[in-house]
Symmetry: C2
Subunit: 351 residues, 2 copies
């Protein structure tokens, strides 16, 4: 870790010292400087179209606001408009993969094109209802929360009463009162199970991350593969693996005694890690063990044998953004349920 040096490197310029103690400017200050009423300031700075204000007046107000450094208060503005344009999402509580990161960026762009601002709120370590209350304090127009049991019907209520026009969950579970964008992770495991059984495998290890925070995804994936194996002669055995070489080497060393001829790893990264450890331990892939991941990362195709995977078929950010917008426009509408996640086996050389 880099040590932060204790010494300070002072900046050359101190010209702002005097300004730092100035009080925060208000719209009254802007009105005074521009020689107009506070109402006019509000109309101009909030781009109200209901009232006609001449171009020179507009310019004068804008210049006065710029000169004073006045910025309207989001909350005050949202009170006037009836609602904000903020879509609040809790920030993910575990480091995200490439897939989520790409998905989120696309969603963020799509919502921006519809004139929403996306705010990710760090709710780490808060209970569901405390988190909902903290989100409500920002008065978002819509909340897109994980459907993982954190948000309760009570939390939905708190949000709606604070003025949120739409509450949507995205994940495996539904919450009373909220629209549900269902992502059923069981489909991912089911799809992997069907593929491995098709290949004639009868002992399937399922890699579950040893790090905390992944249960929302890993538990239903395991349940899905168990459902696929039901009624067949195949065994399904959960295997804990931490994302580090030592953990993979230990699991690979135990492999002969496990008596498994297939493994479905939580995602491609865990699969790549285990595939290499198995090869280094002299286990033939796919001869002795078929290895399958999930997520269909480009990197999985760089290993030899090329990694088989499950492709997750997520809706485009555009489609999701339109769903959010529709929900905001119809706040009294009946909560809808949309199944979102598709899953498809992508067989390559490792199974």
């Amino acid at each position: 870790m880099v040590q932060i040096p204790e010494r300070r490197i002072p900046e050359q310029s101190a010209r702002r010292d005097a300004e730092r103690v100035r009080p925060v400017p208000t719209s009254a200050d802007v009105a005074r400087l521009a020689g107009v009423s506070r109402a006019t300031v509000s109309y101009v700075l909030n781009n109200t179209t209901a009232v006609r204000i001449s171009a020179p007046t507009r310019r004068r107000v804008q210049e006065a606001a710029d000169a004073l450094g006045y910025v309207p208060h989001a909350a005050a503005r949202s009170l006037r408009a009836g609602h904000s344009r903020m879509v609040l999402m809790p920030a993910p509580s575990v480091p995200v993969g490439a897939l989520y990161s790409h998905f989120f960026n696309e969603l963020q762009w799509a919502l921006r094109r519809l004139d929403y601002t996306v705010v990710q709120f760090g709710s780490l370590g808060m209970s569901g209802d405390d988190a909902a209350r903290a989100w409500a304090e920002l008065r978002p127009v819509a909340v897109l929360a994980p459907g993982d049991g954190t948000l309760t019907p009570r939390g939905v209520d708190v949000l709606k009463r604070s003025g949120a026009r739409a509450v949507l969950t995205i994940g495996p579970e539904r919450v009373d009162g909220a629209h549900a964008l269902l992502m059923d992770q069981r489909a991912v495991g089911h799809c992997a199970g069907v593929h491995l059984l098709d290949r004639g495998r009868t002992g399937i290890g399922v890699v579950v991350p040893g790090e905390p925070g992944f249960e929302t995804f890993s538990a239903p994936r395991l349940a899905g593969i168990r459902a696929a194996a039901e009624g067949t002669a195949a065994r399904v055995v959960p295997l804990e693996l931490r994302y580090e070489e030592r953990s993979a080497d230990r699991l690979a060393a135990r492999w002969p005694e496990l008596g498994l001829d297939a493994v479905f790893a939580y995602n491609d990264e865990y699969a790549m890690l285990l595939l290499r450890a198995l090869q280094d331990a002299g286990v033939d892939v796919p001869g002795a063990v078929a290895v399958m991941g999930a997520g269909d990362l480009l990197l999985g195709r760089l290993l030899r044998p090329r990694l088989s995977s499950v492709r997750l078929d997520l809706p485009s950010g555009q489609v999701l953004a339109e769903l959010v917008d529709r929900a905001v426009r119809d706040p009294a509408g009946t909560p809808e349920v949309h199944p979102l996640l598709g899953a498809e086996a992508v067989p390559r050389d490792s199974t």
Copy 2:
């Protein structure tokens, strides 16, 4: 892409329909229900310690607030407290890698332990000053912005005048008026250059991502490697590569005519992609070409030959959070400059 079905699946329960049209409850409603003054409501719900309020009264207010679903307005609360506890960071505008995601999560936890809330603001497509104004509308107590030229001294001013007690940038550039947490990406390139020259290489390709949005990092990394090669006989040649197999295959096919015996890729993922394409094209790594990445990802160690890399040495989230907190506590303090990024070559088998 998954198609969203047009049909709606209505929820069983419609018991909230009546509630949906209820107006947003105010602190006056809470005061009325609890039979106390609005001031008392405010004291209780904002945990003011200055005023003593009996336990039964506290309980009555809390119960009334819960019954009505009243949540204080963050903005109103921050006005009373003088400032919020919100640390605002712009959300990254490109999909982030594992390294950033881990770093950000650690920072978020550390700030939470100091009782701050981290909010990531989606500023996609806004100019620097527009973004600063939009951030200021949320009245954050501190802003941690990228030091990439987006934030201007004027933006810093707008933020401070709206009540931000600390503005910090994190990145390669300094902004007048803000604390600078300097991450000089040139060090990463320089370190790779020195390593490759040490290995006796004389023609160094530098992979620059073909996708937009990476210039902040890729340009200084290229500059760093050029600085390392200055005064030597070595050539440095930028090479554009998109993160897709076809792009890598095309670059590998051109390799013989390029006359290069080394390549430093933007990061480990681009390096892995190119390494495999070079091998598939029959180019010997490291015999004919040394390949080096940056980021020191676990996945790079899974390839053969194992990927050489540059380890980025970032400060812990704890150290950064303490810097933010120190800046908030001393809003009139002289802007400080802290060099944050360390870089170290990690030689493995690919160079």
